[in-house]
Subunit: 334 residues, 2 copies
């Protein structure tokens, strides 16, 4: 992300953020420290899944942006920001562990998944342990409104996953349902990160709603990019098993666009490729028809929408960093 | 349970309890009502798992017992008791759904399991949805202490499941570890039910601790009985797949007792039967050596311990019903 920083004026904020993220990791690890060595070993494995830290970064940056002055004056975040940042990362980790069970994935972040190493059963229970710990950690704040928001968010997230499973193998999935799934399973948590960061910094209802909308649009864009990478990314760069969506009968945006715009013979070819799980052939067809580009275009348009939501904030390095993150989400290759 | 009621003096309390449990079911169902028909269909299936309602009953009865007068004077419980009762039942349902995935079970409460009907993936996500909803429902109470207690409880519960998985196929599992697993995976939640019921009724710290100890001892006894039924019960009465523990390499108390007390040839026979998953042979050996009876005896002794914890309470129909429940737990055949 640092490569995207416009000027050195952002340097103090970026450094502050990096230090805060180290604290977030410490809170995360302390929460999962168990008196049971076997449990600790599993949690250390999951910590290796840690990647972009998108969700905690959004909690911290929205928290900073709401309190921002033109001049950077740390420290402006409280422990509650860091705790919420660790909580959302833990929820995200839980979804990764259970997604890998659902997807029968073998590789994540260049390493073996828990289900691959220790079996599905261990992965199911480990995911449960992470969910439980995320709620417990959140409860240590003693703020019922945050618990309630978190509970609503994870309810919606699970609903998104359940509808997605319900629509597996449904080649006539329409855009509306796709976006409903993505909003629930991915975007609502990203929106909640921004909402909670802003709320903890005492943002006005207008600012809180704008940042929630920013996160929601960003989350949808993020998921479209994820879906594109699963189809058209490079496994050595992405760092996880690719082509899983097609393998597991998940119909994603580029495929929906392709099927909706193809003429009859092209549509028949595409359905046959889906049927046979022939990813290279499907990909070639979609590149030819421009569906890959069209899906990418949709993601970029969402980033434009997202950035518009930031206009009500005081200009600040934190706001600039939020913009830079939004752009990075749809340009990333992993 | 009603057959165990000593006199008709308990009738008003039993009827009050039955009405309260209907309200608990209503709260449970309202919490899971989704705008998504596919999600509702799954939740309706899970509601069919509802059985003894042991955990909600304990919340309500401990709540009653703490506030009890000699004379029954309803209504003495608040909405918060019913909400917590629904919460603990939802946590329990989540563990059933995920346990069935872990155990590859096909039948529960005489019906097909979610994993059998809709696949492991749907069962994993449905369990997550139940966990999330239980935390969300709990958060609606706006009482941080309850959220914190619940989070601690589910953390410990997951740890119990994780250690149990870790010890699968470990024929040299000792009693101490067995009881540590059972305390965590089963008894801590049952203890929390009693603690929360008492806390919500304004019990003194001494009474709260005694009722937690009552529930914990009861929970361990309950699990021993469950383990006995899995080995030596009748499938048509128990209503779920039996012999799963042996099948999945789970070593339970009667087996531990048998292996610890057998002479060398009998021990070799038993280990061979475990190795071959030969439940009838193992059972015959254990009946012969008295290990089944010995395990049952341990459960009865725990019920005696549990009942002793009730002595500090004012005598009341609710206290009598708690005693009757404790006895029923180790006499039940399902």
């Amino acid at each position: 992300m640092s490569a995207l920083l416009p000027t050195s004026a952002h340097q103090p904020t970026a450094e502050f953020l990096a230090r805060e993220l180290v604290e977030v990791e410490r809170i995360f690890e302390a929460q999962l420290a168990s008196d049971l060595p076997a449990v600790n070993a599993l949690c250390r494995h999951v910590e290796r899944y840690r990647g972009k830290m998108l969700r905690p970064t959004l909690v911290l940056l929205t928290g900073l942006a709401v309190r921002a002055r033109q001049q950077f004056e740390p420290p402006v975040l409280g422990r509650e920001h860091r705790v919420v940042a660790a909580v959302v990362e833990m929820i995200h980790m839980a979804t990764l562990v259970h997604d890998d069970v659902l997807d029968e994935a073998d590789v994540r972040r260049q390493g073996a998944t828990v289900n691959r190493l220790r079996g599905n059963e261990m992965a199911v229970m480990l995911g449960d342990y992470l969910i439980s710990n995320s709620f417990h950690l959140c409860s240590t704040l003693g703020d019922p409104a945050i618990n309630l928001r978190l509970g609503q968010t994870t309810n919606t997230l699970c609903e998104g996953e359940l509808i997605q499973l319900h629509h597996r193998e449904n080649a006539s999935l329409d855009e509306e349902t796709y976006f409903e799934i993505v909003r629930r399973k991915t975007a609502v948590l990203v929106g909640a990160c921004c909402r909670l960061g802003a709320t903890l910094s005492g943002g006005s209802p207008t600012v809180i709603a704008a940042l929630d909308a920013f996160g929601t649009a960003l989350g949808i864009a993020f998921q479209i990019q994820d879906d594109l990478l699963d189809l058209a990314g490079r496994a050595d760069i992405v760092g996880k098993s690719l082509g899983r969506d097609l393998e597991k009968g998940k119909v994603t945006l580029p495929i929906i666009i392709h099927l909706a715009t193809a003429d009859l013979p092209a549509r028949r070819d595409a359905l046959a490729a889906i049927e046979r799980r022939d990813a290279p052939r499907l990909l070639a067809q979609m590149r030819g028809s421009g569906s890959i580009d069209a899906a990418h275009q949709r993601a970029r348009a969402l980033v434009v929408d997202a950035k518009r939501e930031l206009q009500g904030l005081v200009p600040s390095p934190a706001r600039d960093l939020l913009e830079a993150m939004a752009e990075a989400v749809v340009e990333r290759e992993r």
